[in-house]
Assembly symmetry: C2
């Protein structure tokens, strides 16, 4: 498949949702397949919190790393690159090539760090729209994403109703939840309380490895399914030995959790994690008491909504709210609720069910 | 009610489950009501993870702090101090007056810190049995506790079957779970990664306030019910103002989580939290493949088991396992499963249902 990786510079000042101005920014993106002459076969895939533009295919900048949604993108796959031109761009604020806190601020000739402005989901979507402009894509055939990516799809539906014909929203809710507000704050605090964090100015110095590892160890306790933990590790002691009654980790699962913490370091910029989770905090389609059906009144696309029964962080009941509000506006939509013990994240790790539904939806959308 | 607070020194060497020897230890305890002449009206209450001997009544060492289970203990209350002599002792390894890592190690004339030996639930129960010996109590009328306290009750049932006539186990499971193994490890890491932790040697210096706060902030995300969070805080901004789009906490729930973190500091010894969670890690009544019904074969008491449907950390299905194993041995037992959105911890924070059942059980046990 025709797989291209590029960067584009947007060099005119951009007003962010906060009111702050970003003088210029880069967007890194990958494309798969070919844009047709009518330029109406483009699909935009919005990535999840710690993913990036490398959705499929070998050969990203790091070498042979696999894409994060290989099963979805390629010839004869649900997003069929024989027919469609698939784009995935790294979000504004990320660390996968687009401008974010680790990028050089031309003003100080040093990385932004915490001087980077707070960005929102809408700011990210606006940057994607600028990318589409530059590529000559007026209207996307489909915009798709899960969780953090799903928030972006919802923002597209509302912010650019004329530029999206089909939307696929997976494991996302119409607003953040109280629990997630707390979770992200604790994740950020774990990073920021590490003395090596140094107020976000750690580039070229020692990374805040301890705090970043702790954030990830904490994260795994929230997003790994308890049954998966139990089935895989149980209460097995390390090396199956007798307890040593020391303060060291004694159990295989504890060693795994430590490993997760170690592996987190160097793979994702800690400042980007702070900014992207902040963006999720602000996501609320009903802020100020607007009803969801009011919010959706100008939506013009067909919408497929996919949720998972065991996703307690982005529960299917809240996806049902989206479906109801769309239906109240007579907007065509389909809500599918699946079973997977992976719960949240199932669309990536246990994707078969979701991909079959997406394939049908895409065929019916041709 | 007759309320007494005392300390007793046990000055003969004690072999711990780890094989290590503890030369001497103190046990701090409180008593309520009067021991009768037959010495057969004593109730032992085993406290939860971060509680202590002060189960009820004003006038603990700190002054006017309320007891942690006021509704349960007192004249005409379910543990009726007109009839019973109620004892609650601080666990070995704790920081409420019993010997633990913050106690002075006579060898070095300094606090033990991480030189304190790892202790298990059985070690704690053995210390309680020594206390009973000293008080001349051969057999407890009832031993009761929830969660960490419930683990102690289970250990009493198995370790001292002849010394306990009635057992009340609340929100406890026959063994720790994979999820809890991970949770406690992350809690410990949050504390131990704080540079002020200083290898556990922070007494008389700066407390590891940042790590202890982080541990508690993480904890609240696991043990506070999501519906309670949502109903109480929703997505309300601090001071109901507009978002400020800064990296500071913006939402009332985030301020609450920070507050929880701040309040954690100075209230509980960080080293004790490390040791007591370690003890929970080792709790497993089926280690080495012993069946639970084999484990319970010598149990000689009546048992009341109380679980909560929404307790996902110590789920009622696992309490049911205890009931089944007791029944397989024809041991009288009663399993009651209650509803409370508090889930775990409901026996303290939403105690009405549990206390009514306990009252009935105590009346039938007279």
């Amino acid at each position: 498949m025709n797989h291209v990786r590029k960067n584009l510079l947007f060099n005119s000042p951009t007003k962010l949702q906060s009111g702050k101005i970003l003088d210029s920014f880069d967007i890194a993106y990958e494309t798969y397949g070919n844009l047709n002459s009518a330029k109406d076969n483009a699909i935009l895939i919005c990535h999840g919190l710690t993913s990036d533009a490398h959705v499929a295919g070998e050969g990203d900048v790091t070498g042979s790393r696999k894409g994060w949604w290989e099963a979805a993108v390629g010839p004869d796959k649900p997003f069929d690159t024989n027919k469609y031109f698939v784009i995935c761009s790294n979000v504004l604020g990320g660390c996968g090539g687009s401008t974010g806190p680790s990028s050089i601020d031309v003003v100080g000739n040093a990385p932004y760090g915490l001087k980077f402005p707070v960005v929102t989901i809408s700011d990210m979507v606006n940057a994607q729209a600028r990318l589409a402009d530059r590529l000559g894509i007026d209207t996307f055939h489909t915009v798709v994403g899960g969780c953090f990516g799903g928030f972006q799809v919802l923002d597209w539906m509302i912010g650019y109703p004329a530029r999206i014909r089909n939307a696929i929203v997976i494991s996302a809710t119409p607003r953040t939840t109280t629990h997630n507000l707390g979770l992200w704050e604790v994740i950020r605090q774990a990073i920021m309380r590490d003395p090596d964090f140094n107020g976000g100015d750690y580039y070229g110095r020692k990374l805040p490895a301890s705090g970043m590892g702790l954030a990830q160890m904490f994260g795994i306790m929230i997003w790994m399914d308890r049954k998966v933990m139990h089935d895989r590790f149980g209460l097995k002691l390390i090396n199956d030995r007798e307890p040593s009654y020391t303060l060291e980790p004694e159990f295989q699962f504890q060693a795994f959790v430590h490993n997760i913490g170690k592996n987190a370091v160097g793979r994702f910029d800690p400042n980007s994690l702070i900014y992207l989770t902040k963006a999720m905090d602000y996501f609320d389609l009903t802020r100020g008491g607007t009803s969801l059906s009011e919010t959706f009144k100008n939506v013009a696309c067909r919408t497929l909504l996919i949720g998972y029964r065991k996703d307690w962080r982005y529960p299917p009941e809240e996806m049902a709210e989206i479906s109801e509000a769309l239906s109240a506006n007579r907007k065509p939509n389909e809500l599918r609720t699946l079973d997977s013990h992976f719960g949240h994240g199932a669309f990536m790790y246990d994707s078969e069910g979701a991909l079959e539904i997406i394939r049908e939806f895409m065929l019916s959308a041709e």
